[in-house]
Symmetry: C2
Subunit: 316 residues, 2 copies
């Protein structure tokens, strides 16, 4: 194992001054719908509105000062962009963020609000990476990958660590899976801090790469892309896949209708704003009711940065 | 004074087993926008999604058992309907709710979900009252008025009582004003439990009856009705007006654009779902910045029952 228990404990102490200890919320109505007992770790209420600050901050703090003095750089359509921009501001260095020109305006504004320089690119992986390389070459900024980075994974692990501390004796934890940063961190924290807790991943049918990658052992592409869970579009990282393969109980797929129904339940019953990606694990529990009935189920609500002008379009 | 300090304390004990003690949340970003320190009493996270459960439950518990055995009845487009339906279920008696046929579907469903019988009427005061009278006559159910009722006012007062207990030394409290139940209760609690705290009301320009009524001393109608704050459309109650006139510092008006801007800030920054009516006081602070600068400002977020299919229409 490349990430030790001690590394996660150290990361948690390292980032604690910069993050919120987010609340774990419960909702009796949602419990009664699903027939189990939910514990929602609300990273939508985290600084920058998402768990990504944990990994971004941990990675930034681990870079030697001489290497980070020219700034931090990354490519991201959203929350990791904000995380790196926020971390750079905390460290008093510049941030260079490559964002696809299709990024939600609210996320672009937030990144700029932290004082970062935003560079737009075409909405594909190649355009992102080539523009990023150009910027890194020109500025000498330090690149922090959104998920395929051990310091990032270690930082993301601290969300599940807090959930386990605040809600002991969980039978299950579920996390959504996109690039695999949150999921691999969650798996490591469950393994080290609550070994009897099994971890499932939730993935949209319309971005079903992780389920294939876990099966084949190679990084696979999704057969097709069609989901409102826009945080989960990417394929798994090289460093994330082996951790996920070793520890995940199963990747559970959900349909778009199931994601929308779960999102509506959270908005209407919990009165909190979460991103569509957040509710993929909840949708997975509602779809696979018998697996979770009468159990204590922790869910990491990953973020809350949504474009409010789009919310209603998810419910027509 | 018709409602004593002791009556509010007793009401609080009476309803405590049936309600949540809702959290008081803060948000550093919104503080920095306004230049003051906010304490948001989150009744959107209350049972039934609104403070109305406090007054409805207090009133229902005060009705002699012989008078309530035939059930409870009310007319309401929304949150008070849910409050009475919930109270009736708690007491094991039927509920008869008259709702305008234009009521948001989510509120109708919630009322039915508590087992109440819903009767639809045309969307005007006369139709509401005449259908209600018909039902009360036929069933012998006990009518609980949404705001023009001392037990209801006493119940609503407990929200500000909790806010004062949890956030001492507030310079100001603001509440929205519709029929005046929440506002008169808030004024009484500030008067009894924190006399140095001044209370302002927030009212939409497009439902500006309270500001006129406070001036004239009579129940006035709004010059025109046009607001997304659909909880604040009604005129003041007979029992509410004298309390408001005696204690309110001032009624502050806000425009629709100001309401929408405040709503967006809460959704995007606090990541919680509140009703448009909720943010009228916040909009009033943002409009009258100099009155509140550097002060500790408590705001009662009254409810969170919104139709998610409509949210985006507020932001185009």
């Amino acid at each position: 194992m490349t990430i030790s228990k001690e590394a996660i404990v150290a990361a948690h102490q390292r980032i604690a001054p910069f993050i919120h200890r987010t609340p774990v919320l419960t909702c009796s109505t949602i419990n009664s719908f699903a027939g189990c007992e939910f514990y929602f770790k609300c990273e939508n209420l985290q600084k920058i509105g998402a768990f990504k600050i944990r990994g971004g901050m941990n990675a930034a703090l681990q870079i030697p000062e001489s290497d980070r003095k020219n700034g931090l750089a990354t490519h991201s359509s959203g929350n990791h962009a904000q995380a790196v921009a926020f971390a750079a501001r905390m460290l008093g260095v510049p941030a260079y963020i490559v964002m696809p020109e299709t990024s939600p305006k609210v996320k672009v504004e937030a990144v700029k609000g932290y004082g970062a320089e935003v560079h737009f690119c075409a909405p594909n992986q190649q355009a992102r990476e080539s523009l990023l390389n150009e910027i890194v070459e020109k500025t000498g900024a330090y690149f922090i990958h959104p998920y395929d980075n051990y310091e990032v994974i270690t930082g993301q692990a601290t969300a599940a660590k807090e959930l386990i501390e605040d809600s002991p004796d969980l039978d299950f934890i579920l996390a959504p899976v996109g690039g695999g940063g949150l999921l691999s961190g969650t798996l490591l924290s469950a393994h080290y801090f609550s070994p009897k807790t099994a971890v499932y991943a939730g993935e949209p049918e319309g971005a079903a790469d992780a389920i294939l990658s876990v099966k084949s052992g190679k990084i696979e592409k999704a057969p097709y892309i069609n989901t409102i869970a826009d945080g989960l579009l990417t394929s798994l990282g090289e460093r994330n896949l082996p951790i996920i393969r070793e520890f995940v109980k199963e990747v559970l797929l959900v349909s778009e209708d199931e994601i929308k129904a779960a999102l509506r339940i959270v908005y209407e019953r919990m009165k909190i704003i979460v991103e569509p990606s957040c509710v993929v694990p909840l949708a997975a529990v509602l779809r696979n009711r018998s697996l979770f009935e009468h159990k204590k189920v922790g869910i990491v609500f990953s973020g809350g940065n949504v474009d409010v002008t789009k919310i209603s379009s998810w419910f027509v």
